[in-house]
Every structure is written in C-alpha cells, then in structure tokens.
C-alpha cells in the first residue's frame, strides 16, 4: 500500500514572509491583503493572536487592538520561493514529490522502513508506524532549519495525509487501512472548509465526517450530485487521486517585494545578501553551484530591469556574487526606485579537485573561480586570464583567455633548467620619443612632450640619453593587407643614461617609438 506524507506550513503567507525577514520572528506581525482601510488580515503571528488579532479583521481594527502591530503586504515572490524551498526539503526525503501549492507538498514515502529506523526508539512491538514517526520528525526538523515551521501527516491517501497534517499535534501518523476511522470523529469543516454544500449537510444535522460516511452513497449522490458523491468517497477515506510527481525546476529563484521602494544601493545590497545566502544554501543542499545569475528588478511605478552575470566557474560564494551585482548596478543603474527583486540562479555541478599525495597540490576550482570573478570585478575581466601566444611578428601582440588550468601531474617534475635568456619588457603602448640623427647614425634619444592618453593621471616613463651603441635597422613588415599595417625599422640601442631599449621608426609617418626594454 502506498504511503503519502503531507507537508503543510500553517499560515503560509506569514511563514514565507518571516523566512525572508527573520528579524521579525517573535514580533506581533500580520500579513494583510488589500489597500488602505480595506486591507484585511489574512495571517497573524502568535504574539498578535495573543492580543486577539485574527484573520478577517481590517488593519485599522487590528491596529486599534495593538498600535505597534507590524503589518506586511502579501508577497507573491516570497511565497513562491518559500514553496520552492519546501519542495526542496521534501526532495531530500523522497524522489517522488508533488507540489500542492500554498505551503503544501506531498511525498511518496513508501518503502522507507530501512532508511528511517531509529534503533533507540523502535521495538518489535511498536509496529510499522514507528519509522514513519522518525521520518516525519526528521522532515519537521529539516524544514524548521530552513525557516519554515512545518506540520507533517502520513497516511495512505493524499486527502487523509493532508487532513492529518492540519491537526495541531504534529506529526500525525494514520495507520494503513484506518483512514476512515481516523477521519470519522473530525468535524466536517476539515473536509470541505469553503464548500456551499456544507450548509445543506448542516441542515441535515451532519456535523462530523463519520456521520457523512455512514449515509448511503447512492442517496447522497442523488441529492447532491457528483460533488456529493466525491465528498462521500472522501469521508470514507477513499482518495483515488494518484501522486503527481513534479519535475525539478531548471533554476533556483529567490526574491521579494519590498515594503518601500529603494533608491540607494547599500540597503538593496543588504537585502540581496540575505536572499543570495538563502539561494546558496538551497543549491548547497542539492549539490549545485551557480553558473549564471540573473537579477530581475521590479521598478516603481512600473517596469522591469533585468541583467545577467556569467560566472567564470560554478560557485556558491555569496560575497563574490554580491560584489558582481554591486559592480553591475554601479555600472548601469536601474534608473528608477526598486520595488522588488528576484534572483534566478542557473545551477551547475561544482568542479572538484583531485588531491594528490606526491604531485603538486591542485588549486580548488571553486576557490579559483571565486578569486577570478573577484579579480575580474576589481580590475576588469579582460585583465585576468591565461596568456596565449599569437601568430605574427609585431612585438606588442598578445591574447588572454579564460583561465582553465590542467590538473597537475601525478608526480612532481623537475623544473626545467633555465637557459639564462634575456627577456624584453614590452612597453604597451609604445613610448613616443624624438631621435636625433647625426648623418646616418643615431645620436641621442629625447622624450617627446605628448599628452598622456591613459586617463589615469599617471606619469609617462622618461627615456632619454645619448646613444652609446646602436644595432640595426631590422625591418618588420606585416599585415600590409590590413587597415593598420605594421611597417617599421627596428634598432637595439644602449643609452648613456642606462638601459638597453628596442626602438623603431614608423616608415609611413616617420615617428619614433620605444616599444621594449631589455631587462
């Protein structure tokens, strides 16, 4: 026989809000729906309920009872992410889960005796329900850790499990085959809280589910129609609806609607940090890391702003993601106050490094990706990477690609012996100079008074002095078919002031430049 566990988060709109704003826990908080004086309470925290505030009151009525009452509007984004979090908790315990919406999830828990048998509590006489109690307690604990106070009911059908989960003393385990006996003493409102048919049954004097179940099915069906027949089946604990397994979503979402629109960055980042932290924890539970992060901003009064951040490698580092978001928002501001936001993380498997006993230690791919992302945010993504050679002869040529190092060798190698090579320090961009000629020979180099175009206010390096020895010219001609062909005459020069340089003259314009220093 199938066994179904129902997870139910009581006062779901309130629980979802408290999950997003944990600092409100313990306060007198109500969730309201509607605007102005028409706003009415749909859920109240325990402290507010103690002050006799209950669902259905208008907000002014509630405030009259408790002036310091904290009121929050119902937040669809919060509820959606909380529902996802609830489903992810359910997935930890069973691969077959159903999303029943509004803080409810069903799990197929058949055949889990071996997984949740608690040696300390279970004895042979206690029967098969004991492992289900252990399982239900584990679910309640996991959900509580994730900030969602949850009740659990386990029965043979979704209906009975759901009703069991609604009862206050959680967990409630309905033994197999005893669904109708479990339902019989419960009031009829548990079965049909909002149906108009309940009034008709009330007039007949039917108060409990058991009284309805004892009526003849055909008589109920002839008077109340198909709805009545289905209700009669439900009252007998018969629920033919199978569990509909949900497909895991391809992405993780977190977000919330803000109480007040935000116009500055810091308060937004403060809230975003908490949301990213929740997102990272959810991904960690499933063994995922974020490969791409999308941010959707809801703007005031209307409109949206969306942006995406591609991460160099899957990561769960909140600090890195927050830094990238900060830089993205600073570079391109939304242009309007932010009234809500939503993060969408595209998951990927995090990379793992193989540890080596005798070889060089490999860098942790996760840490490396985080560092590269932070460096890219700090100095620019085109300034971090692996150097690669480029075909050609122009000395200034280079390319930089994303850093993806190969694994280290299994055994440490001996370092390659140096050949004592003299390297050239490339000067990018080349330093323009004036070269004085005497006859056909180079005589001296003088700095050229030119404006510094780098824009960072830095001073240009100064190269001057008479030329002690010059070697050249060496001709370099490349890319004559391009818009900017390279057509130069090169010299190696040693200056009296110190320094050995590589200088060239552009054949076309005739200007002199220093593009390298032997160092």
């Amino acid at each position: 026989m199938a066994r179904i566990a129902s997870l139910l988060v009581p006062l779901f709109p309130l629980a979802a809000r408290l999950r997003s704003e944990p600092e409100l826990a313990g306060e007198a908080v109500v969730i309201v729906e509607g605007n102005g004086n028409a706003a009415h309470v749909i859920a109240a925290s325990r402290r507010a309920r103690r002050e006799t505030i209950c669902a259905g009151m208008t907000l002014p009525q509630a405030r009259a009872l408790l002036p310091k009452l904290i009121a929050r509007g119902r937040d669809a984004e919060c509820e959606r992410t909380s529902q996802e979090a609830l489903l992810e908790i359910a997935e930890r315990f069973s691969p077959r889960i159903e999303d029943a919406g509004e803080g409810v999830a069903h799990l197929d828990v058949s055949g889990m005796e071996g997984l949740f048998r608690d040696k300390k509590e279970t004895t042979a006489e206690e029967g098969p329900a004991d492992h289900e109690t252990t399982l239900a307690r584990a679910i309640i604990q996991a959900a509580g850790t994730a900030g969602l106070p949850t009740r659990v009911g386990i029965a043979a059908s979704k209906l009975a499990a759901r009703i069991a989960a609604e009862l206050p003393k959680s967990p409630v385990i309905v033994p197999p085959g005893e669904e109708s006996a479990f339902l019989a003493p419960l009031p009829l409102t548990r079965l049909l809280p909002e149906l108009a048919i309940g009034d008709a049954l009330g007039r007949w004097g039917i108060r409990s589910i058991g009284e309805l179940a004892r009526l003849p099915e055909a008589e109920v069906a002839s008077r109340l129609g198909e709805t009545g027949r289905a209700l009669h089946w439900a009252a007998r604990g018969v629920d033919s609806r199978p569990l509909t397994p949900r497909l895991p979503p391809p992405e993780f979402r977190e977000g919330m609607d803000l109480e007040w629109p935000l116009v500055s960055l810091e308060p937004f980042l403060f809230i975003a940090n908490a949301a990213l932290d929740r997102l990272a924890r959810r991904m960690e539970v499933q063994g995922f890391a974020c490969r791409r992060l999308e941010l959707l901003l809801k703007l005031e009064p209307d409109g949206y702003d969306s942006r995406g951040i591609d991460l160099p490698a899957p990561t769960r580092d909140v600090k890195t993601m927050l830094t990238l978001i900060r830089l993205g928002l600073e570079a391109r501001t939304p242009g309007a106050p932010v009234a809500g936001f939503s993060f969408v993380a595209h998951p990927d498997r995090p990379r793992r490094a193989q540890l080596s006993l005798f070889g060089s230690p490999a860098l942790s791919p996760d840490k490396l990706a985080t560092t590269i992302a932070r460096l890219a945010a700090l100095i620019g993504s085109d300034r971090v990477g692996t150097p690669v050679t480029v075909d050609g002869h122009a000395p200034e040529r280079f390319a930089i690609v994303a850093h993806d190092p190969p694994p280290p060798p299994e055994l440490r190698r001996r370092p390659r012996r140096s050949r004592g090579l003299l390297a050239v320090r490339v000067l990018r961009p080349p330093v323009p100079v004036e070269v004085i000629m005497r006859g056909n020979e180079l005589h001296s180099v003088q700095p050229l008074a030119v404006r510094n175009d780098s824009g960072d206010g830095s001073k240009r390096m100064k190269i001057e002095g008479s030329i002690r020895v010059a070697s050249g010219p060496w001709s370099l001609e490349e890319g004559w078919w391009c818009e900017k062909p390279v057509d130069r005459d090169y010299w190696d020069v040693e200056l009296s002031s110190g320094g050995v340089y590589r200088i060239y003259r552009e054949r076309g314009e005739g200007g002199w430049y220093v593009d390298g220093m032997y160092d």
Binding site: L375, R383, P387, P415, L421, R425
Partner: protein
Amino acid sequence: MITATPLDLRLVTAYVIGTSSLLLPVESLMSSALLFQMPLLPRETRPPADSETEITPPLRDDLARLRASLAPELAARISSASELARTLQRRRRDEAIPTTIPEVDRLLEGGLPRGRLIEIAARRSTGRFSIALSTVASATSSGDAAAFIDLGDHLDPSALEIAGAELSRVLWIRPRTVKEAVTSAELLIATGFPLVVAELGVHPLPGRRVAEASWVRLARAAEGHGAALLVCSPYPISGTISEAVISGQRGRAAWQGEKKTPRLLTGLSTTLRLEKHRHRKAGDAVMLRLLMKEVIR
C-alpha cells in the same frame, strides 16, 4: 618466522621512505623483511572487517608492533599513510622554488623560500624581468600553478613560453595601480597559488604608494598559505617585512662587432647584490649574464 602475507602488510599501509625522498612500495618492504628474516605481523592481529570504527586503533598497534619487530634502521624508515602525508606536506613547505638562474639561486640559497616575501629592487635593464619570467617558468614546468601580476602590462606571452613556462598554468593579472596589484596578490595567495610574482614595472609606478601595513599583511598571507611571493620593483617598496632584498646594478649590454662593423646585441651583464637577508649576512654579490635567444641558438 614470517607469518604474514602481503595482504596483511597492505592493511598496515606502510611505506619505506628512502633518503632520496622517493617511496618504496609495500613489495619492497616485504622483500626487505624476507631478506632479513624479520618476524612480521601475526595473522590474528588483522582488524575485524565488519567494524569500520575499530580499524584505526588496531592498525596503529600493528604499525607499532611492526616497527618494534624490525631492525632500528629499517623501522625508522617506515611510515603510516597519515604520517607520510604530513611529512610530504611539511617537506613541500620547506622546499624552495628555484629561479633556475644559478647566480640568483646561489644568493637565495636554493631559490624562493615558500611562505616568504622576496624582493628584487632594481632599475632598468638589470635583468629583473628575466628573473621573474624564469621563476614562473621554473614553477609551471614542475607542475605548479603560478600567478604573474604584471603592473606595467609588460609581458610578452611568447617570451614566457620561450623561457620554458607552461602558459596554461599561468594566471596573468594586469592591474592598473600598485594598490590593485597588492590586492590581487593577497587574493591569489589566499586561493592557494604556490608562487605569486608581483612585477611592479618601471619608474614611475602608477597609482599612489601603498601603506607598509599592506606589505605586512601580504607577507603574513604568504606565510600562512606557504606561498612564495616575489616582488620585483624599481626601488625598495615592501619595507622591513621582506625575507631578502636583492638589488641590481646598472647592466651593461654585450655587443658583437666593433667600431664600424655592424653591431649585434648578444646579452646583458649586471651585478646582483644581496642587500638584506633575515638569516644571513648581507653583502654577497654575483655577476649575472643573460643572453639573447638568437645567441643561444
């Protein structure tokens, strides 16, 4: 009398560490034991297979018993896997990363010590950049990762490849200011790079001078993570925190050809001097000769 099988020895996970730092496998130990007719583990000391929690203590006892049963010189060379891992890690931290330029390695007594900041402060054309490239080539050719922080954007990837580096193991950072360079170095050290080379370019350095506290923090980070940090700058910049400071005298170019005959640059010779060392007397000097690749060919 020998009562153990090779399987019993494998349970002990024993290795013999030779003086050449390489390992001899279990079979060698077995053959050594056979050779010396040493009593080995009795079979009944094998730990019960069904209890994972009880494996460690009996194994430790087995190892102690095995050591006690062997000759002292052989027993001293037996190590458990965890001891071996610790020894190798310790040895790795004590190793220096050679620059593979004999003159520089002689000044630094083997190369760049891990966990220390070494500074080369030298002006133009003193071989500073060549030493930096050679160090990166040395680390990457042995399989280590290396980070090259290039403040002046001076690196030619083909020059690094010719120097012998595996470019795929090099992370090239091109900061704009000294502050960015120092921040980058700190991040890279914390990531676990065993070698970080901060090449600060030529005078004048872009951006403001960073506080000495930043270098102290950087040196502490290198010490904490066992990274070798080489700072190459045109003048002493890291203050008192460095392990050693090497200065370079103005280099003289070597030319082929005389007077009116065509000249050809063949290399550069310069004098390197140990200005400071925490554990040695400073003042040693070496003559460094670097050659053009065309001459070497």
